[in-house]
């Protein structure tokens, strides 16, 4: 790539960087360092993700696992373990103190009540009814601590006709129930069957996105509730259902069906509602092409040298291109053109077009579709602090995605990635219950911790 010439506004970039570079995060205060969070998540990374977001902002976050550890510690690609912990939990154990507590035992529940009395936030992911049957549901705990913000993240929510279902919340099931998986995936050509083309089916996203979304809505709700509590002193119960959380990110599908009876059918790598907007093949992979204004679409046609042949000069509106048959027609015309270039060549052509093209500075968004391996190698994200390894005294140097946003005052940060099961029993039980080694040994012998 040609040498980078800095823009006219380089001084602005340098100035902002001097204020919010993640390299300086540890010098700054933490927004939530006055909070204590209990995370009782069971089997669900949504709850762990939610508490991670609070822990990254400085909340003292106490992760409570059954003796032996929660199932989430086994979640790992191919079952690979690193020093006894699955790779997924090496991301979402971050900044948390890890204690064990057996909630099946009466004494364990009494200890939980003490912790809840001292906490600001509690997060749990059990099916509806489990916490209540243990006598540690919102009603009971709020009597002990009316300021408690009690957050449930589950598969069906805490009320409504399906809420009694005693099933745990899993990401792939929530993705399926959200309505989004239904509309994502390759199109099954007419006359073909799923058995012939088992990949042309409704397809979920690879990452645990339903969990991430419900966990993030959880954090949003908790922080909003915190604002209310600061004014009134009142805590409250928050109820999030993962399929709903993820479904909320769908846009017009519900309205479209209600008004027109149109189902959100799969449309492959094009977009039902946008043009130019899709993935197209190149010599060495593929690119995303985007141009939501007519000029940007024309610019693309110019970039591939078809401006005159396709009559781009005459186009006055983007509207007809959004129609289904036009999208498919132009997709078939574009594919052989993009196949003539590598992804990098096309990207470079778009950047160049912004300087010298007939419609410059207007150009088309071109982005190579990179693998996660290449994304991790990209110097730009490294420079912006996303993949800075965390130096963990137990687990070693671990790459954790972090610094997801930059801030001048209270940026998120990752201090450690995880702790072994029960690692902080000594510290936390002494701090909150005055339990020394003697008492901890007794509780351990009784199977309480």
């Amino acid at each position: 790539m040609a040498e980078h010439k800095r823009p006219k506004w380089a001084a602005w970039a340098d100035h902002i960087r001097s204020l919010d570079d993640p390299a300086k995060n540890f010098e700054k205060p933490e927004a939530l360092d006055d909070l204590v969070v209990l995370d009782l998540s069971s089997r669900s990374m949504a709850g762990c993700f939610c508490s991670s977001l609070l822990a990254e902002l400085g909340a003292e976050t106490i992760r409570i696992e059954p003796p032996g550890g929660d199932l989430v510690r086994t979640y790992s690609p191919g079952g690979v373990m690193h020093r006894g912990t699955g790779l997924a939990y090496l991301q979402e154990g971050r900044n948390k103190y890890h204690i064990t507590l057996n909630l099946e035992k009466e004494e364990g529940r009494e200890i939980l009540k003490c912790l809840a009395g001292a906490a600001d936030v509690l997060i749990e992911t059990y099916p509806t009814g489990v916490m209540e049957e243990w006598g540690i549901g919102y009603e009971e705990l709020s009597k002990l601590n009316p300021r408690l913000i009690y957050t449930s993240i589950s598969a069906f929510g805490r009320f409504g006709p399906e809420s009694g279902r005693r099933q745990y919340d899993y990401d792939n099931v929530s993705q399926a129930r959200s309505g989004i998986q239904y509309g994502t995936g390759e199109i099954l050509p007419e006359g073909k069957t799923y058995d012939e083309m088992p990949y042309a089916v409704p397809t979920k996203a690879g990452p645990w996105i339903a969990w991430a979304v419900s966990g993030t809505f959880g954090a949003m709700g908790i922080l909003a509730a915190l604002h209310y509590r600061c004014q009134t002193g009142e805590g409250q119960a928050i109820d999030i259902a993962s399929p709903e959380a993820y479904e909320r990110l769908h846009d017009y599908a519900l309205h479209w069906y209600a008004d027109q009876g149109v189902l959100n059918e799969r449309f492959g790598n094009l977009d039902t509602a946008l043009w130019l907007y899709g993935f197209f093949p190149t010599k060495d992979g593929g690119v995303f092409l985007g141009g939501l204004r007519l000029e940007m679409w024309k610019a693309f046609v110019d970039i591939i040298g078809k401006y005159e042949e396709w009559g781009a000069e005459e186009w006055t509106s983007l509207a007809p291109f959004m129609k289904k048959d036009w999208q498919l027609k132009y997709q078939a015309m574009i594919n052989p053109e993009t196949m003539k270039y590598t992804s990098e060549e096309l990207t470079a052509k778009s950047v160049e077009y912004a300087k010298t093209g007939r419609l410059a500075p207007i150009t088309t968004v071109v982005a190579p579709i990179v693998s996660p391996a290449d994304a991790m190698k990209d110097e730009v994200w490294r420079d912006r602090g996303i993949f800075t390894p965390v130096q963990d005294p137990v687990y070693g140097s671990i790459v954790c995605a972090q610094a997801q946003w930059k801030a001048t005052e209270t940026p998120p940060r990752t201090k450690w990635v995880c702790r072994p099961v029960g690692y902080d029993n000594g510290f936390i039980y002494l701090k909150y219950l005055g339990f020394g080694p003697g008492r901890l040994k007794e509780l351990s012998d009784q199977g309480v911790i």
């Binding site: 506004w9 602005w12 970039a13 927004a31 199932l71 086994t74 979640y75 790992s76 690609p77 191919g78 079952g79 690979v80 790779l87 090496l90 805490r158 009320f159 399906e162 009694g164 279902r165 792939n172 399926a176 989004i180 509309g183 390759e186 990949y199 409704p202 397809t203 990452p207 993030t216 809505f217 949003m220 922080l223 509730a225 928050i238 109820d239 999030i240 709903e244 990110l249 769908h250 017009y252 599908a253 069906y257 977009d271 993935f279 593929g286 995303f288 939501l292 959004m322 289904k324 150009t363 982005a367 996660p372 391996a373 994304a375 730009v380 912006r384 996303i386 995605a401 930059k406 001048t408």
Partner: protein, 442 residues
């Protein structure tokens, strides 16, 4: 049913939103920008959407396959709920002055402009800090304000973010080309995270009086959500590959084709769930099979594919509804695949008030999603939909900035304030009576 949520939907409007008293300004277009402030609006904040007259937000023009709702872009309607609509020309000095007056009386201001544009418009962070040191100032764009891609002034959007993060790469079936999501996941996810940042910053401000500047990139945020991918690549030296509907970290967890040609998704990793599934299949011995007994062993690819094949063959002999029912009975997670038809018809979504009818003075009745955070004391509420460009100018100028009608008219005359162009999505719907929804001047 949890007692605290009894009659939740019925009593919703007897409680305030949690962010009552918070004022938010947005100068945003498309999705990544405007989606976040509408979450805050549902949470009870007063959100003022500032558009450039007379065309406003680009999303007003967008539609699926040519379908508009009363001439309006349906995604614009979904993304921009419960806001007040102002059209202010920020290119001109007087517009910038008025904007600063508003900032002085606001808590949060959000932008999604190219890097350094706010600075050029004299409304950069430090300009606003001078009038309001407590301001929480958010800029959202593809690559932030600094770094190589930002300096190249690369345009970005959701699809580019799906491509550049590796998200699309790992979301197809093995051996198939990367697959784009049907929703604008990176934009809306980044927008959500921005509000987590904003709310945390509000808490910090309460303690210290200090505001702050926050920079959000949707690609960086979606990478945060991709979790195990990064340490896996670091430790194994291998790149993550796509696995279709199979969850690579949880087994069994996959989507299966059923007897009725419908799909069911199920998951059963815990010992009790796995045993329940094996029993439901009439194969309890599988739970003791050394390949499958322990979750970590079961996750080894060869074993995972073996058990998933057994389940797939079984699933083909049952209907999706039967398997969902067996999940309830035997205690493993299972659901038939839902579509937009289920969004509309499902009684559970309705009973929770998650899907509800909007009753809007300009756009009438139609169903939409509530914010999916049910809060026992401060329920979020999606109340109204979008407005024509500049529709609430008079209301805002009068109630917040104390201008009288003559002063407001002068601002219109000088083009500082603007109103909608007579064009699709900008003007009121054609059946509008000229009054409904207008607050001060009818």
């Amino acid at each position: 049913m949890s007692a605290v949520f009894a009659d939740y939907v019925k009593n919703k409007y007897s409680r305030p939103g949690p962010l009552k008293g918070i004022r938010v300004l947005e100068v945003c277009t498309l999705l990544f920008g405007p989606a976040g402030p509408s979450f805050l609006a549902s949470l009870g904040a007063e959100v003022i959407k500032i558009e450039l007259p007379p065309m406003g937000d680009v999303t007003r023009s967008l539609n699926p396959f040519g379908w508009f709702y009363k001439e309006q872009g349906p995604m614009f309607m979904h993304i921009n709920t419960s806001k007040y609509y102002m059209a202010l020309d920020l290119h001109i000095d007087l517009g910038q002055q008025i904007f600063k007056e508003l900032c002085a009386k606001a808590d949060v201001v959000e932008f999604n402009l190219r890097p350094a544009v706010t600075n050029r418009w004299n409304i950069g962070y430090e300009d606003i800090m001078k009038v309001n040191p407590g301001i929480i100032y958010v800029e959202k764009n593809g690559f932030g304000q600094w770094g190589l891609y930002a300096e190249q002034d690369r345009p970005s959007n959701d699809g580019a973010s799906q491509a550049l993060s590796g998200y699309a790469w790992m979301s197809s079936f093995p051996g198939r080309p990367p697959l784009k999501q049907s929703i604008w996941i990176c934009d809306v996810y980044g927008a959500m995270m921005a509000e987590v940042a904003v709310l945390a910053a509000l808490h910090h401000r309460k303690k210290t009086g200090k505001g702050q500047y926050i920079e959000m990139s949707q690609t960086e945020n979606i990478m945060r959500a991709m979790g195990w991918v990064w340490p896996y690549q670091q430790m194994t030296g291998k790149g993550v590959e796509p696995a279709g509907n199979r969850d690579q970290c949880i087994c069994p967890a996959d989507t299966f084709l059923c007897k009725d040609d419908l799909f069911v998704a199920l998951a059963a990793p815990a010992p009790d769930e796995f045993l329940g599934l094996c029993r439901a299949m009439g194969r309890p011995e599988l739970a003791e099979d050394p390949r499958f007994k322990e979750h970590t062993t079961r996750l080894e690819v060869e074993n995972a594919l073996a058990i998933l094949k057994i389940i797939a063959d079984w699933a083909r002999t049952k209907t999706a509804a039967e398997i969902e029912e067996l999940g309830k009975q035997y205690g493993f997670a299972a659901t038939r695949l839902h579509s937009s038809k289920d969004m509309y018809e499902d009684p559970h979504r309705r009973a929770r008030g998650f899907v509800k009818e909007i009753d809007d003075p300009l756009y009438g009745r139609y169903p939409d999603h509530e914010l999916p955070i049910m809060m026992s004391k401060t329920p979020p509420k999606h109340r109204w939909t979008v407005r024509p460009v500049g529709f609430d100018n008079d209301f805002i100028m009068t109630t917040i900035l104390g201008r009288n009608q003559a002063q407001i008219d002068e601002l219109y005359m000088h083009g500082v304030l603007g109103r909608w162009k007579d064009a699709q999505g900008r003007r009121p719907p054609s059946d509008w009576d000229g009054k409904s929804g207008a607050i001060l001047r009818r």
